[in-house]
């Protein structure tokens, strides 16, 4: 009877040890899965950064182009205006030059 009982206890101890071993393996897997998930997160973050860099660059390039276009449009209009004014005043300006170089001023 006592022998039977001891055997039962040993078997249960052995089963317990196995159970703990399995639990340790499961724990290791849980940690490894977490590490893999972290790796995935970082990989995704790198991909996101590439995509974001393109988006940000596109946004500011577009804004820059629009400002550039507006500035040059104004400048061209101003240049045209200058030319028109100059054409209207051309004769008077020629007279100013002639007066000076002919010694009449």
């Amino acid at each position: 009877m006592a022998v039977e009982a001891l055997k039962l206890i040993r078997e249960e101890e052995e089963a317990g040890r196995k159970l703990i071993e399995e639990a340790k393996e499961s724990a290791a897997k849980i940690v490894k899965d977490a590490e893999d998930e972290i790796k995935g997160l970082k990989e995704k973050a790198r991909e996101d950064e590439k995509r974001l860099a393109v988006q940000i660059s596109d946004k500011y390039t577009k804004e820059g182009e629009e400002e550039k276009k507006a500035i040059m449009k104004n400048a061209e209009a101003e240049a045209k205006n200058l030319k028109t004014r100059a054409e209207l005043n051309l004769d008077s300006a020629v007279n100013v030059v002639l007066e000076k170089i002919l010694g009449l001023r």
Binding site: A5, L6, K42, G64, E78, G103
Partner: protein
């Protein structure tokens, strides 16, 4: 304690240890993931901020360069129109020679240039001066000895005696018009050709032209 109770106790202890191991692992994994997520978020935020700064700077650089180009376009237009005025002025000289300018005949204009040159040469001097007048082939017909005599008398009415004459041996200058006046020995010379006057007065001339050229018509 009987064997059954001992077995039950062993089982319970093993289960409890297993639960603890698993629970610890899960907690550890959860913490690691949380830290990693926070790091990734922070890194993303920093990255976006840095990229924005970089792209804004680049945009501003492009805008500054464009503003400079825009100003240059204005300056180039001004220069182009000033150049046109100067070209047109040189072309108009032929008309001036033919038809006079603002009631002044070309002969009178040349007389004025000769007188100005002579006066600037004898200014402050009390000695008598013999001065030569050199003209272009085209302008030679507008100046004669009697004109020079008249001018000499006019200038000599002051404190100094001046005698103006045409340079000898048909000496001519290559010029669109105007005169060169020099002392007989050639040591002092005043170049009153139009090209030289344009160069001499270029700064003030440009300022005067700009004032008139780009003025709004009232």
């Amino acid at each position: 304690m009987g064997a059954t109770e001992i077995v039950e106790k062993i089982k319970n202890e093993a289960n409890a240890e297993c639960d603890e191991i698993i629970s610890e692992a899960k907690e550890n994994a959860k913490k690691q993931l949380e830290v990693a997520r926070e790091e990734v978020e922070l890194q993303k935020k920093n990255f976006v901020e840095a990229e924005e700064r970089k792209e804004i700077e680049e945009k501003e650089r492009i805008v500054r360069a464009t503003r400079l180009n825009a100003r240059k376009l204005g300056w180039d237009t001004e220069e182009e129109m000033i150049g046109k005025v100067l070209d047109e002025s040189m072309k108009r000289l032929k008309e001036v020679k033919r038809e006079s300018f603002k009631g002044n005949s070309y002969s009178n204009i040349l007389a004025g240039l000769i007188k100005d040159a002579a006066l600037s040469m004898v200014e402050g001097s009390s000695a008598s001066s013999e001065l030569e007048v050199i003209l272009s082939e085209e302008d030679a017909s507008y100046v004669d000895k009697s004109m020079l005599k008249g001018l000499s008398d006019e200038i000599s009415a002051g404190s100094v005696n001046v005698r103006l004459s045409l340079s000898g041996e048909g000496e001519r200058i290559k010029s669109a018009g105007g005169v060169i006046v020099r002392t007989k020995d050639g040591k002092i010379e005043v170049n009153n050709t139009f090209e030289q006057r344009m160069i001499r007065f270029s700064t003030s001339l440009k300022e005067d032209v700009v004032k008139v050229l780009f003025k709004d018509k009232e």
